[in-house]
Symmetry: C2
Subunit: 375 residues, 2 copies
């Protein structure tokens, strides 16, 4: 129950055993085409899709190094560890991140972004994390931010690593030029692949960017994608797994999948509140449907609780990152997730925190989960 | 029988099915430590080892972006497609590749490199491909080049993607600061990982390099490696596979493994000559023990031959790359390779080229293979 890498269905794991084929041959072209078509459905986009052998951070780096030239101003709302990382990447490219610093636990607002554009009229792009894995906050203003980006003629780049496939994100409808995700989160695949959707405008911007790295070059990726290939030898077993994972998503249907994640997230939030804990995101609307973040009660040792959960109940959840270390619990509500997993997690959590000396009412927690699924 | 991705033993494939674990937990630390220890044996180094989720090209890019600053002069012997790519990478980093252009089929010489250093005393590093996958040429002068680099106080960076684990390459003894390989070649693993050994000198140089990418940052890699982790979520199934592949190498022993590759390569070269074909590398000493390149006889359609081999005999070999397209056949002599594979390949090749209208003596080819293994 980690916020990634997440559990992988057996069908997807077993797909990795298919033969290692020539990545320049017709069998590979068929595999690539199948993946590409299903990814376009999940991203809800007609834009190009690029597949990298890299983690999600590699995908974010790829976007920055194709779209940021020295001196380019980019708006970056900073509200967690992953948005901080984007800012750092832009600085390393000699770009100028215009940060909108939001206290951890809150989401940035479209109006704040618009104010910054008014103040900095030469800004080139907005680079925003849709779902902050480190705080469990989702930016519900994203459609409005997309409208602002379109109106002001700015590129909109979205880090959707921990959410794409688990919550609503129609890339074209929301005007997203570059949308980045990774295999090991809501797609329920093993880690090792990052995926980007890239608009024509972003490709044109990349063509004018100097010093693009070869490994992450949009233009090489585009040239290869048109041939149903990757520019360099890809992680073939992971592509087989991704192909299978996407077939599972297609079988379930996107809307049903989003609904399932939302329902499980509601069950988590309600159950934690019934146990007497408070939710980390400060506004109800910003609560993520894929990463559940809960405050560690005063006097409780976060590490002791997660250790008991793992060693005694075989359920693994995460603590906080960076300055939130020891202050929050984080649960990945991604991919293979249903009432069963929510019940098992709440059960393990309540037992563990009781054993760690903080009394909660296990029965009330479990009943709350049941009630959400019946409601 | 492609020059990568190469065949993967069943034990290694099956290892990928182990559970997806938390990449920040103790189980992962044990896995990482096991891999690291065995990699140090295969690299024959005490230097740091970094593991990237990326192809070999990603590994080469990583080295360039940590070690080349704008204006830095780097000697690059260019004698094939992969060495050309290094030159391009250096240019994209605003570095200055000092190319030593060698006709395809020949290997660069230590003396040529020394002459260039005399002419360009402010050069910072030598970046050389040890085994050119595109031409089947190995640089046998590498130990001497290592001595020159040490004497002149230059960093020595070696692209050993298609050779490490298949031919002699004692990294520390030969004075190599950075040695790069990939999982899908002589380590006989699925593609998707790149591995680098990095000396203290190279780490110090990296610390002074501006604009290092986050995903490929030596310093972040070092910080994580010290904790037996990777900086970002790694391709866990591929790490399990690598761990198993390294155990197989340990069981066989490095010397035996090199001897086996060498014997199989000799069998290939002798058999092709017995069939009346000529070897692409112009000097016997430069012939690679891991990639066998053979000239396409006049009037023969390379693609027709490889197509028959694949469709009728189930053996896959490659043609030439770039300007060698249609001019050479290339065979990967890597990983799982023994008399059986050599015989099957020579059999399929002789039958296919006969069917394509170019008469060769199959029996003579097969007898030659047998003779090499008996000799």
């Amino acid at each position: 129950m980690l916020p990634g890498p997440t559990n992988v269905p057996e069908r997807v794991m077993n797909a990795m055993l298919k033969p290692i084929i020539n990545h320049r041959g017709s069998e590979f072209h068929a595999l690539y085409s199948s993946i590409e078509e299903n990814l376009k459905s999940v991203f809800q986009t007609k834009n190009d899709i690029f597949i990298l052998t890299a983690s999600g951070t590699g995908g974010v780096e790829c976007a920055v190094s194709n779209l940021v030239n020295p001196g380019d101003k980019v708006i970056v709302p900073v509200f967690g560890v992953f948005s901080e990382r984007i800012s750092e990447k832009i600085r390393r490219r000699m770009g100028v991140p215009i940060e909108i610093v939001v206290p951890f636990g809150y989401a940035p607002r479209a109006s704040e972004i618009e104010e910054v554009i008014d103040r900095e009229p030469d800004v080139k792009a907005i680079f925003i994390v849709y779902n902050e894995t480190s705080t469990g906050v989702t930016v519900r203003d994203l459609p409005e931010i997309g409208r602002i980006a379109k109106k002001r003629d700015l590129l909109l780049i979205v880090d959707a690593v921990s959410v794409l496939g688990g919550d609503v994100l129609p890339v074209d409808e929301w005007g997203i030029d570059v949308c980045i995700t990774a295999s090991q989160k809501c797609l329920a695949c093993p880690p090792g692949l990052s995926i980007l959707s890239v608009s024509q405008e972003a490709l044109e911007k990349a063509a004018a960017t100097k010093g693009r790295p070869i490994y992450f070059d949009f233009l090489k990726l585009k040239e290869s994608a048109d041939k149903k290939e990757t520019p360099f030898t890809p992680a073939i077993p992971l592509l087989y797994a991704l192909d299978e994972a996407l077939k599972l998503i297609k079988e379930e249907g996107l809307e049903k999948r989003f609904e399932r994640h939302k329902r499980c997230a509601e069950a988590f939030y309600s159950a934690f509140e019934a146990l007497g804990l408070s939710i980390f995101p400060k506004e109800k609307l910003s609560r993520s449907n894929t990463v559940v973040a809960v405050n560690v009660p005063r006097g409780v040792d976060e590490h002791a609780v997660t250790k008991i959960m793992w060693e005694k109940y075989n359920v693994q959840i995460a603590g906080g990152m960076g300055k939130l270390k020891g202050k929050i619990f984080r649960i990945g509500n991604m991919g293979i997730i249903s009432k069963k997993e929510v019940l098992a997690t709440i059960h393990a959590f309540a037992c563990a925190i009781n054993e760690a000396g903080y009394a909660v009412d296990l029965k009330k927690g479990l009943e709350t989960v049941e009630a959400v699924f019946q409601g």
